[in-house]
């Protein structure tokens, strides 16, 4: 476990450093260092982005909020416009780790980690976020993340920022089911966004964490829901749909069967939350 550490001052230098073989980019380090410790990766070089001022920003305009790659969870939580624009993202981040982790970890780190259980990631799926890559590409989040721990980020490139388009929603929901309240990785997480029409759902987005190799957006459920009224019957139907579509595995945190049951049960939160749509 011996590696060198470098903290470039600008993006040019960053780019040079990360193209070297064996180099790993670190933003918060909260996951990377654990992985090194567990022997999952053996970097020759760690390149920290933390001192690059051009990556440390949050921009807001009428259409979107752009989050620079070194912005920590804690900074996001303290950024009022984010809470107003994307409460579901706020709620998701709020459950991440602990103050200590949130003070170090970044949303981009969460994306790069590409964990099926990524709480922030789930919110980004719901919000149709785009990842801006250093080569100029902007990629939808669900295309950016490929599988656990893997993204399409080309070698030698880095994530500059996350773009989250603004959109209006009447209801938002995030919940993670874990073994305990704090410092936990979800057994299953769920999030949705609902826009109500006059009598029925105008638009719905729904996503689950920890039930598939990546965050799972259930687009057909979303389509199905359009124009439906939220009531017991509706929930009964979609919970069955959900059960069929999620594809969890057995692991130390929970069995596949349990997870499936959880997912369908969590749909009843829509009724419990008293959403009238």
């Amino acid at each position: 476990m011996s590696y060198s550490f470098i903290s470039p001052r600008d993006e040019k230098e960053l780019k040079e450093e990360i193209s070297a073989p064996g180099s790993f980019t670190m933003s918060g380090g909260t996951d990377l260092l654990v992985k090194i410790r567990m022997g999952k990766i053996s970097p020759q070089k760690i390149v920290s982005t933390s001192k690059i001022s051009t990556l440390h920003f949050i921009d807001e305009n009428d259409d979107e909020i752009v989050i620079g790659s070194t912005i920590t969870h804690a900074e996001l939580l303290e950024y009022k416009p984010l809470r107003e624009a994307f409460p579901v993202l706020f709620d998701a981040i709020y459950t991440i780790g602990s103050p200590q982790i949130r003070n170090r970890g970044t949303l981009v780190g969460n994306v790069m980690n590409a964990s099926p259980a990524g709480d922030g990631l789930l919110a980004l799926y719901l919000l149709d976020a785009k990842i801006e890559i250093s080569n100029g590409d902007a990629v939808n989040i669900d295309e950016f993340v490929v599988s656990p721990g893997r993204t399409i980020l080309p070698k030698g490139e880095y994530v500059k920022s996350i773009h989250i388009p603004k959109s209006k929603w009447d209801h938002h929901y995030f919940e993670k089911v874990g073994q305990r309240n704090s410092m936990t990785i979800s057994i299953v997480s769920i999030g949705w966004l609902i826009k109500c029409g006059s009598e029925a759902i105008e638009n719905l987005r729904i996503a689950f964490g920890s039930v598939a190799p990546t965050i799972l957006r259930l687009k057909d459920v979303e389509k199905f829901s359009k124009g439906k009224k939220i009531d017991e019957k509706f929930v009964h139907v979609v919970s069955d749909m959900v059960k069929e579509r999620v594809n969890p595995i057995d692991d130390v945190r929970g069995s596949a069967q349990y997870r499936k049951k959880l997912c369908s049960n969590l749909m009843y939160r829509m009724v419990e939350e008293g959403i009238k749509c």
Binding site: G29, S48, P99
Partner: protein, 151 residues
């Protein structure tokens, strides 16, 4: 590599290894209040305050300390005079074995710096990254509350 930073109010300049954790380095230079409990950011015993925020020093590399302002529990008390948080921990019986206490104190300190009058819920949330196996947390919450009340 050489790092320069402010530790407990004093400018420090020291040679560190690239792959040394901040936890190991701080202990090496005598900050024994910084405890290793788990080594993976789970327990918070190694909590320190960096630039006003509490972080776990086990998930931070020593070179990253460069240019920062760091506080450990050693920096909180002068002579035998305790910081109000430390005093509250003692008064409220929030210390049993004491191993988690330095990390607890630093998290409480960071919390109160940001939020001088936290609610009980906010205290719980603020302290959620610090495990304690002895107390059941009640006295710790009370201690932080007391320190906040005396602020």
């Amino acid at each position: 590599m050489l790092v320069r930073f402010n530790l407990n109010g004093e400018e420090i300049e020291s040679e560190v290894r690239d792959d040394e954790r901040a936890l190991d380095f701080l202990r090496r230079i005598g900050m024994k209040s910084v405890k290793e409990g788990c080594g993976e950011g789970e327990c918070g015993a190694c909590t320190i305050i960096v630039n006003g925020r509490n972080v776990v020093s086990c998930l931070m590399l020593a070179p990253e300390l460069d240019g920062t302002e760091v506080w450990t529990t050693e920096g909180l008390s002068f002579k035998n005079e305790l910081d109000p948080i430390q005093k509250a921990f003692v008064d409220e019986g929030a210390i049993q074995c004491g191993f988690c206490t330095p990390g607890m104190v630093m998290s409480a300190k960071a919390l109160l710096m940001k939020n001088p009058q936290p609610t009980v819920e906010e205290i719980k949330k603020g302290m959620e990254g610090n495990l304690c196996r002895c107390t059941g947390y009640f006295k710790i919450i009370e201690a932080v509350k007391k320190a906040a009340d005396e602020n």
